[in-house]
Amino acid sequence: MSIPVLRFDGVVKAFPSGTGTVRALDGLTLDVGPGGFTAIVGRSGSGKSTLLNLAAGIDTPTSGEVLVDGQPLSRLSDDALTRLRRDRIGVVYQFFHLLPTLDVRENVALPLLLAGRPERDALAAADVRLAEVELAPRARARPHTLSGGELQRAAVARALVHEPSLVLADEPTGNLDTRSAAQVVELMAALVRRHGATLVLVTHSRDAAAAADRVVTLSDGRVVDDTRARGERAEAAQPFRAPS
């Protein structure tokens, strides 16, 4: 049995709120196997984005464990977590988060530069990804001149430029019109398949989720539904056991 690319084992994430705390994730247990496209859906406040931030290691759980490629994130130092993100994870955000001082090509090349790749190599790789997302003509444009759809395609190119094994997308269609949203989801699905990566997409859009191989529904920080694309009900995630 292959090791899940992403595993949540009894994860609780609580945020302070007023005088008490709010549990964004409440004992979440979930496995995401290698390859394929998993959509996480749920209403606003159901814990979708929190799940993604924990998966990317940019937030830490209150309790429980998150594993990426079998590696418990809680045991990694901050630098090791950063390296993990840099080498094996690509992230696409709802608000794109492209740096305004860099042009599109430089934004896409940034993860490779952060990994220590020479500028020329990084820019060449960025050109390839930009061609894949059909943004080559806008490579030298500054982000503020791009449309929402173009910005998100640039963000997708950036998330894939270092060929990660896991791509996390947080509401990537949230700021796009229907047509652009469909294009972006289709593009992401095609690209991760082409590169053999695993895509976990958080969305509140049923349309976006429709393209996924698996749809996990969250409510109040728990998995309330887990459906394969073929309509089968997935097995309930098993409690985590440390690999022997």
């Binding site: 984005s49 931030n53 990317a56 940019i58 937030d59 830490t60 901050d78 630098d79 950063t82 390296r83 993100r85 840099r86 080498d87 992230v91 955000y93 608000f95 988060h97 740096l99 305004p100 001082t101 860099l102 430089e106 940034l110 993860p111 530069l113 952060l114 990994a115 500028e119 950036r158």
Partner: protein, 633 residues
């Protein structure tokens, strides 16, 4: 890494030229103040050192007057001391010079002014017959005998009455040449000096800014009322015998002369000027403090504006150290640019301030006019290190804060992070503790008579008030909010923005507070100083009329009022009393001190001197008068 620096830092700075320029200027002003003040005061000291070195020649020991010269009859005894190979007597007089000609119906001097006498000249009286072993005259005149002191001119110096040789620098500045006449003030009376030669030796062109003249020793003694007195005897003693000769001379010499190394005079002046320099430097550091606040605010603002970008970069794989590096480097770049600009500006300002600092040093410490800036690599390096170091330290706080905030929090909350309020109460408490420390330091430094404590206390005060700035800002915001309601929504929003950005606003408030504080403290200090002088004048000077020789401030001990003038004043009808005053400097434990002679009887009757312990001036001065005692500050 260089690509990341270019992409993430330099490009951002270049795209915000206004903000970058303002911060660089802030740092530059602070550095410029420190550099300018240090360069100007060091130049004044170096000028004095140059003069001492040039005038000392090959001398390796000298006998100097402790106060107002010593009897010239000691010269032959000094020369006969075993171990002394050569000796040369020197008389030095600072005098005011002008180009007015006395004896043309216009004495050139107006009552109560020294108009027309606008420059100080150091006149060195040397004995040409003793000078040969010192090579001083030869060195001073230079190799080019056509432009220098040829045999004829040398003889003229000896044989002609009131003959002097001036430096090329002085001659060029005043448009003088051999054959011209110069008028100097001697005890308030104009004296005609004939220029017989122009000195071309390089050394003296810079000593005192070139304001040096050489004359025969007898000429100087005659012209400036120094007959029978010597200021110094320069000696060449057998190598290795200096200590022995010095001890022998010390045992033999009268109380008003003592042996010392020529360089000791520079050290005395260094000691004297060091407090002046320290004060100015400490004040200039406040400007650096203001610059630090500017950098702190600039970097903090950069962090605020890029909060989401920082989160995105962390998510993309930039380490915490990388985040710290980017912002510390930003501080470093701003600091480096500011430091370089500040050093350049400091040199320019020093050039402008040189004359003013020279005048102040001259007035306060009798260190004479400075005309050349001595560029000190150490001062420039200090300026660079100060600008760079202070900027990096200022940037460190916001950089660490940016790096320590988890990427998830940064991406999730972004701008809301800035809305978090600083810990007002804790900061205010810390400010009070630091101010208490300032008070304790002041008390301790007064008790221990430790001037450095004053500067430490000043630092504590600035730091203490800076820590109080957030609480103060909050207080002002609350008051402003009440008032703002009357001025509509915009005013209310403005007041609210202050609260929501309290952390950053406090930094700006602290920066303004320190700079306004500096202005106020300087004004108060200057006024207090004036008040002190006023009190001193009221206490000590009760005369209705004062008479002093014109140019006294330049020539000091070389000026005196004729005895018949004093006697005449005493005889004038309506004159109740005449108090004579004679001041001279002497060396005490390596430091210069003033000795002032006044008439105790007149002070006892009319003065208002106040004494420690509250004892009546009349009884103290009466006791001093009967016991032949002195009064010390």
């Amino acid at each position: 890494m260089s690509v990341l620096i270019r992409w993430l830092l330099l490009r951002r700075l270049a795209r915000q030229p206004g903000r970058t320029l303002l911060v660089v200027l802030g740092v530059a002003l602070g550095v410029a103040m420190v550099v300018a003040i240090r360069l100007a005061s060091d130049s004044a000291l170096a000028s004095f050192g140059d003069t001492v070195d040039e005038v000392a020649g090959r001398s390796n020991l000298c006998v100097s007057a402790v106060a107002d010269g010593f009897d010239e009859r000691w010269f032959s005894r000094i020369r006969r001391t075993p171990g002394v190979e050569a000796a040369a007597p020197v008389v030095e007089v600072n005098t005011l010079v002008g180009t007015l000609t006395p004896g043309n119906g216009d004495a050139g001097v107006e009552l109560g002014t020294h108009r027309g006498f606008d420059e100080t000249l150091l006149v060195l009286g040397l004995d040409p017959f003793s000078e040969a072993p010192f090579g001083r005259l030869t060195d001073l005149v230079g190799a080019d005998t056509k432009a220098g002191l040829d045999v004829g001119a040398g003889l003229a110096l000896l044989s002609r009455r009131n003959a002097i040789a001036i430096t090329r620098a002085f001659a060029e500045r005043r448009g003088l040449a051999a054959g011209d006449t110069l008028t100097a003030l001697a005890s308030g009376a104009p004296v005609r000096l004939d220029i017989v030669a122009v000195l071309t030796g390089e050394g003296l062109q810079h000593a005192m800014g070139g304001n040096v003249a050489i004359a025969d020793i007898a000429t100087v003694q005659e012209c400036f009322g120094r007959i029978g007195r010597l200021d110094r005897v320069d000696l060449i003693v057998t190598p290795g015998a200096r200590e022995r000769v010095s001890a022998a001379l010390a045992a033999e010499l009268p109380a008003d002369a003592r042996p010392e190394r020529p360089q000791a005079r520079t050290r005395q002046v260094e000691n004297m000027v060091s407090a002046f320099g320290l004060n100015l430097t400490a004040l200039s550091f406040i400007a650096v403090f203001v610059g630090m606040f500017l950098v702190l605010n600039a970097v903090a603002l950069a962090v605020v504006r890029q909060r989401r970008d920082i989160g995105a970069l962390r998510a993309l794989g930039l380490t915490r150290a990388g985040v710290v590096g980017v912002f510390v480097l930003e501080g470093g770049v701003l600091g480096a640019l500011g430091a370089v600009a500040g050093c350049a500006l400091g040199v320019l300002v020093a050039n402008v301030a040189l004359h003013q600092v020279g005048r102040t040093l001259s007035a306060l410490y009798l260190v004479e006019q400075v005309s050349r800036l001595h560029l000190s690599a150490r001062t420039l390096a200090m300026g660079l290190a100060l600008g760079l170091g202070s900027a990096v330290i200022s940037a460190l706080g916001p950089a660490l804060e940016a790096a320590s905030t988890p990427a998830g929090v940064t991406l999730r909350e972004a701008a809301r992070i800035e809305e978090r309020h600083p810990p007002y109460a804790r900061l205010a408490l810390a400010g009070c503790v630091v101010l208490l420390a300032a008070g304790t330091t002041v008390a301790a430094s007064l008790w221990a008579r430790w001037p450095g404590g004053g500067f430490l206390a000043a630092f504590f005060i600035v730091a203490g008030f800076s820590l109080l700035a957030p609480a103060w800002t909050l207080g002002v915001e609350r008051l402003a909010s009440l008032a703002a309601r009357r001025f509509g929504v915009a005013a209310t929003l403005g007041a609210r923005a202050l609260r929501e950005n309290a952390a950053r606003a406090s930094v700006v408030v602290a920066a303004l507070m320190v700079s306004v504080g500096l202005l106020v403290s300087l004004t108060v200090m200057v006024r207090s100083f004036r008040k002190t002088v006023d009190t001193w004048v009221t206490q000590t000077l009760r005369g209705d009329l004062y008479v002093e020789p014109v140019g006294h401030h330049a020539s000091l001990r070389a000026t005196s009022l004729p005895a018949e003038l004093v006697a005449g004043a005493r005889r004038l009808p309506g004159v109740a009393a005449v108090d004579t005053y004679r001041a001279s400097s002497l060396t005490l434990s390596g430091r210069l001190a003033q000795v002032v002679g006044i008439e105790f009887e007149v002070q006892r009757r009319f003065g208002r001197l106040q004494f420690v312990g509250g004892e009546d001036a009349s009884s103290v001065l009466g006791r001093a008068l009967s016991a032949g005692g002195v009064v010390v500050t």
